[in-house]
Structures are given as C-alpha cells and as structure tokens.
Amino acid sequence: MKKGKILERRSYRLRCLRNWALAALVLFLMWMGAGYPLPRSMEFQRMERQRLLHPSQILLEVEGGRSGDDDLALGVTEDHVHTFNLDLNRLIVWERQEDRPTLVPLPGETRYMEGWNSYLASSLAAVDAPAEAAAATVTIELTYNGVINDRPVDWAETYVLEGEQRGDCWFFQFIRHHAGEGSLEEEAEDYWLASLTSRLTYYPTEDLPSYTLEFFDSEGESLGRYEDTFRLVGWRE
C-alpha cells in the first residue's frame, strides 16, 4: 500500500454529490437547449396541450421529405382531424365529417422515387374510409394563372392520385406529370406542387381546390364517391 494522497471521507462524499449534481445540471441544460424533446408520441400530445386542443389518436406517421425523419403525423378526435409537422411546430385542425371519409393535406413535404431521382411531393391522407376498401383515388384539378419568369402562364392539370393504405388511413401523393421536361408546364407544375401544401394549409378556405375521393373494393367496384372541399377549422401563425 503506498502512502498516497489521503482523501477526507467527508470531502469526497461532497464531491461525489457535486459531480452527480453537475452531471444532472449539464443534462438538463442540454435538454433545455434542444427544446425539451420528448419521445415522439408525447411530442404530438404536448403540441395539442400547448394549443389547448383535445388529445387525438395518432393514426399515421409519415417521413418528412426534408429532414428524413418521421415528422408528419395525423391524429383524430371525435370531431376533428389534427395534422402535425413536428419539425416546424405546426398543428392544423380540420373538420372530421360524420357521415363520410375526410381528406386532409399533410402539412409538409414528403418524398417519392422515380427511377433514380427523388422528388419532393405534397401529400394527402384520408380517414374513415370504408373498411372493405382495397383501393382509393383522389381526383383533383389544379390551376395556375400568373407569370413565371416573365412569361404569362395559364395552366390547369387534373391529377388522379393513387391511394396507399397505411393502417387506418389512406395515403396519397402528388406524382409529377412533367418531371424533367424543361418545359413551361414543368415550371408551372413545379411551382404549384412545391407550394401546394403551403397553399392547402396556410391560405384561406376559398383558395382550396375541391376533390373527388373514391374507394373501390377488391373487385374494383366503387364503394363510394365523395365530392368535397377541404374543411379547415383553423391554424394560426
């Protein structure tokens, strides 16, 4: 046993406590600096509490196109549908129809692959679909009337989106018609689609296009055809 430095028992206990306290403090400061992150499901509920909304049941989580994390979500309450963008701290409230399926846009961009390229896409989701549905489509017409790069543009396109079932929701993405053409149509489509989600969620109801939502059973027979518009309750910013 060497005669080394002798430590006072009292003092090393205090130092021990001090170390743990400092470690806890540093962890807390890190947590605070990161914006008090919580586990994902708790994050959505917290967003609702902060806005004094009723807690919803999350039915869909989708990867956001920009960050690559699961940061878009959809939740339902009795009367409303909540859509979330966790990254941007956005929560949008939509009316939930009593007697028919409800279609809502997701408040952020997603991605899809076409060959070797990936594209940012706006997407929609439907809840309260008929249980026997095996396929779904959304038909929606987009128009743009204005000027792009000094050229006047008068553009209108009808999109038919194929639905993908994810849990209790049906998920639809806007696949581009004119990708890679270099044409004016491509520019117009690009401009419109790139800002579509913003338009659908940030601008007043008058601006929102109407759509036709249809469900089919496994034989291809129609289970219901619904023409409607997006019913925004509110958001704020």
Partner: protein, 299 residues
C-alpha cells in the same frame, strides 16, 4: 515491520473501497507506531516493541469484519462513477453542440423581457397613400388596464399584464376607404409550472365575444388574398378588407417573459361601441376567460 504490515493487511482487507482503505490503514499504522515508540521508550527493543504493539491491537479478523461493514463501498463506487459520469456528460454536451443554444436560452430567461410600454397618449402619424398625397392619423390612448387576473383554463393560469384601447381619427383629406377606427390591444399571458410545455400562443385557436353579445370574427374570415402581377413579377397581396370589418387578430408576438409563462398579443380592430365595452370573453380550448374592462380611463 512485517508483523505490522500483515496485521494492517488483515485488519483492512474487508474495506472494499481503496481510498477508505488507505485512510484507515494510515490511521491504524500511526497508532501502532506510536505504541511502538512508547514501548521503545520503556526500554524494549524495536522488534519487541513492535510485537507488543501489534498484540495490543487485538484480533485483526474481528476488526476487519467490523471495518468492512462500516466502510461500505457504495460511496466509493458512487464517487468513481460520478467522475466518469460527469466527464462523459460534459464531452457529450460539447460534441452535441449544446452549449451555444443552452447558454442563449439561459441568458434569455435571466435577462427577461422588457416591460410592455403603453403607447403615448396622443400620437400623430403621416401616411402617404399615393405619390405625393398624404393624410394624417391621430391616435389617442383612451383606456388602459394592467395586471388583470383571468383564472385557469386548459392547465394554464391566465392574466392580462397590459391592455389598452386607442382611437384613431383620420384627417379630413384622408381617402374614403380609410375610416376612423379603434384598436383594442390585449397582452395575454399563460403561466404554468410545466416549463417544458409553455403555451403556444401562435398556434391556439380561440373565439372572442363581448358584453353586447357581439362575436368578433376571426381575421381569417376577413382576410382576402388578391393575386395578380405587376410588370414582370407576380404577387399575392393580403388586405384586411375595409376597416369596418371588425377583425380579431391574434398576432404571433410570442414572448417568454419568464421561465414559466408565455405571452401573446390579441389585437382587435374596431370594437363596435367602445364606450359600452365592459368585458371581453375569450374562449380557448372550450373554456371561457373573462377580461374585465371596466374603468381604465386615461387622462
């Protein structure tokens, strides 16, 4: 000194934490040595004195048992682990780049926010509405309130730190679509001990009514976008309709006045009959908060 060494070894072997063991070893060793010195003074030889001193110390096994139980290693390991824990956590925080954000936040909380100042009692501003054409708006602070407690709703305690009513009168040469109007500005604060989920003022939906039964429409209902193009660029403009559209607008001036509360600003353009205004009722999350607006006249 082998006898001493073996005795000390046996007596301290059950003390598991090395620092404690070292300390007790030293203490007991000193004791034995002093006994030895006393023995040598009495005339014993070195070796005999050592033998006597060690014998006087008693049975090392029994002592070892007691000392081992007493100097439990919990504290020892706790201390060692605490050093590692602190080190790791500090390194992690540096790698994660946590310090700039954390220090900024901390500074923000410590510094606090400046007090809201009431606008001046009378203020005149000049507005150019067309090239070379001006008109004047005179804004008068008519009523002001401070520190109103509103009660609890949605898990937060609500209050109005400051609120005021201003009347804006236009000069005679003002264009026809700019009428006299008033603005009611209410700072709304929500407090809660849950500092990790402060009120999100920018994201809350609410409705506002007053004592005359009037329900203030949300700005969304009066918000008209106009799309068009000027020359080579296209634009989207937003206008709040004519000023006689009594809009409620909750601006996103979102402040964190202290660690436990968040503030937003409620702006109402044109209360229909300001002289008859007694209270405002704000509904958030299905619960109602009443803002008592009696009195408050400004000289």
């Amino acid at each position: 000194m082998r006898r001493t060494y073996w005795w000390l070894y046996a007596a301290t072997k059950k003390i598991r934490f090395s620092m404690d063991r070292e300390r007790v070893w030293q203490e007991l060793e000193g004791h034995i040595q002093e006994r030895m010195e006393a023995g040598e003074e009495r005339g014993l030889s070195r070796d005999e004195a050592e033998k006597a001193a060690v014998a006087a110390m008693g049975d090392p096994e029994a002592l070892a048992e007691e000392l081992g139980r007493l100097h439990a290693p919990y504290w020892g390991w706790l201390w060692r682990v605490s050093q590692w824990a602190l080190g790791l956590v500090l390194v992690w925080s540096l790698l994660a780049g946590a310090w700039p954000r954390a220090l900024e936040d901390l500074w923000g909380y410590l510094e606090g926010v400046s007090e809201v100042e009431l606008p001046p009692v009378v203020e005149t501003s000049r507005v150019e509405y067309e090239e070379g054409k001006f008109y004047e708006t005179t804004s008068r602070l008519v009523r002001a309130w401070q520190d109103l407690e509103l009660g609890e709703a949605g898990g937060y305690r609500w209050s109005v730190p400051v609120a005021y009513l201003r009347c804006h009168t236009q000069s005679e040469d003002a264009p026809a679509d700019v009428p006299d109007y008033n603005t009611l500005t209410i700072y709304l604060a929500a407090e809660s001990c849950r500092f990790w989920e402060r009120w999100e003022a920018g994201g809350t939906l609410f409705t506002v009514t007053d004592n005359t039964g009037y329900a203030y429409p949300d700005w969304e209902e009066t918000y008209t976008p106009r799309r068009g193009s000027i020359g080579a660029s296209d634009y989207i403009a937003y206008s709040f309709g004519p000023y006689t559209g009594y809009e409620t607008c909750f601006s996103a001036t979102y402040r964190v006045p202290d660690f436990f509360s968040a503030e937003g600003v409620l702006e109402i353009t044109s209360v229909p009959h300001p002289e008859a205004l007694e209270w405002l009722e704000v509904t958030v999350g299905g619960e109602r908060l009443r803002i008592d607006l009696r009195g408050g006249e400004v000289q």
